[in-house]
C-alpha cells in the first residue's frame, strides 16, 4: 500500500527532455524501413504492368503505349506488394509521407525521352 509510487518517476521526468517531438519544428526520424510513399525510378521501368495487377487498392495505372506510370497516392496503403513484385526493382518505399491535400489526385511519371516530346505536363502538380 501507500501512495506516491510514481513520485520518483514523475520527478525524474520533470527534469528530462519531453518524450515527444515538437513536430514540425523538429523533423521526424525515419528508419531505413519506414513506409512513407512509393517512389519509382522511372528510367528503369519497363512498363510491364505487374505492379498494377498486384496492387490491392488499384492505386497504380501503367500505360505501355504512352510509357507512363501513375499512382494515386491517396489510395495507396503502403503494402509494398508492388515494390516486392517489380521485376526491374525500380520501385522502392521512400520514408516521407504523402502531404495532405484538399482533393485527390494522381501523380504521373513519364519515361524521360518521352517527356521531352509529350505535350502533357510531367511536373508534379503543386
Amino acid at each position: 500500500m501507500g501512495s506516491f509510487h510514481l513520485a520518483k518517476m514523475s520527478l525524474r521526468n520533470a527534469f528530462k527532455k519531453p518524450a515527444t517531438k515538437m513536430y514540425p519544428v523538429v523533423a521526424p526520424t525515419f528508419t531505413s524501413r519506414s513506409k512513407g510513399h512509393v517512389a519509382n525510378d522511372i528510367e528503369n521501368c519497363i512498363f510491364c504492368g505487374l505492379c498494377q495487377r498486384r496492387c490491392p487498392t488499384h492505386a497504380i495505372s501503367v500505360n505501355k503505349d504512352e510509357t507512363s506510370w501513375a499512382i494515386d497516392r491517396f489510395s495507396c496503403i503502403q503494402c509494398l506488394s508492388c515494390v516486392r513484385i517489380c521485376p526491374k526493382k525500380c520501385l522502392s518505399m521512400a520514408p516521407q509521407y504523402t502531404l495532405p491535400a484538399t482533393e485527390k489526385s494522381t501523380e504521373t511519371f513519364y519515361k524521360p525521352e518521352q517527356a521531352a516530346m509529350s505535350p502533357v505536363n510531367t511536373e508534379r502538380p503543386e
Binding site: M1, L6, A19, K35, R84
Partner: protein, 362 residues
Amino acid sequence: MAERTIIPFGPQHPVLPEPLHLDLVLEDERVVEAIPQIGFIHRGLEKLVAKKDFQQFVLVAERICGICAFGHSLGYSETVEALMGIEVPRRAEYLRVIWHELSRIHSHLLWLGLLADAFGYENLFMQCWRLREYVLDIFEATTGGRVILTACKVGGVEQDIEDGELAGIVRVLDGMRAEYGELLRTFLKDRSVKSRLVGVGHLTKEQAHEFACVGPFGRASGIEEDIRLFGFGAYGDLSNFEPVVSQDGDGYARSEVRAREILQSIDIIKELVEKIPAGPIDQKIKDVPAEGAYAVSRLEQPRGECFYFAKGNGTKFLERFRIRTPTSQNIAGMVHTLQGCDLADVPLNVLTIDPCISCTER
C-alpha cells in the same frame, strides 16, 4: 422501490473508448440492468474475401483492428495455411511469435494507460503510453509500419529480422522492463489505484465459466486457459509456459493479469530470440485452396481467444472467412459485472474487459 430511469450510454461517449451502446436501467445511482447494443461500425470486411484473393486478403485481415493488427494477419495466415496444408519455415514461426508478443505488450500498455485515464490518474496514463512508444519504434524499425505492419503473409513472413536487430530488441525490452517495474508497482500497490479497482465489477469463476469468458478477463476470474498453452507455432518450443491467473475476479485482478502478462511476453521474446533457428522465412505458394476444404484455427490475442474459419472453393478467392473475436465472447460477462454497480463505475467495468468493438463487428 426507487423509480427506474433508463440512460442511453454511448456509442459516442467521452469515457467510452469504443463505440458500444448501453441502455442502463438505473435505480437512483445503481445500475439494475444493462442492455448492450453493437453494430455501429460494421464494415463488411469478411465479405471482402470475394473481392481480394486469398493472398491479398491478409492485408484486409490486418485492418480488422488497429491494436491486434498483427494478430489478425497471423490468425488469417495460419488458417489458410491449415486449409492448404502449407508448412511454414521455423524461422518464420519464431518471427511471427516475436511480433505477436510485441503486439501484446503494446496492447496491454495501451489498455493500462486507458485504465489509468479512466480512474483519473493522468500521469500514469502518460507513462504507460510513453513506454508503449518503445514497442512502436521496434515495429517501425523492423517492419516499416507502426500499427499496420504488413509483416505476415500466407506461407511465412515478409521480412526477416537480422540477429543483430533481434539483440537490439532484447536490449530495448530490458531497458523498458526496469522502467515498467515502477509502473507495475504503482498499479499493484498504490492506494489510489486500489481504491478504484478492488472489488469493482466482481465475477466469480463459475460465472466466468458460465459466460464463457476468455483471455485476461477470464483468467482474472481463475479460468486457467490460454491458447498459447497448446503450443501452436513457436509457442511449442518455449521451455515453460504458465498462464497468468488471478482468483479475485475484480477490476484489480484484471489489471494485475494484464500487467503481469507484459513481463511474461518480454520473457517469451527473450527466450525465442535465444533459440531462433536460421533458415528461410517463407514458402512459395503455387496452388489455390481446394473446393470444399475448410479449416479452423485459434490464436491467443491480447484480448483473449480468437477463432478463425476459412473455406475454399477451388479458386483464388475464399468461399467464406469468419472470425469470432474475444470481445464478442466477453460482452456477456461484462453485462453481468454491470448489474448492481454504481453509475460511476460503468466506464471502468466496460473498460476492464478491454473491449474492441471494431474487431467484434469487422
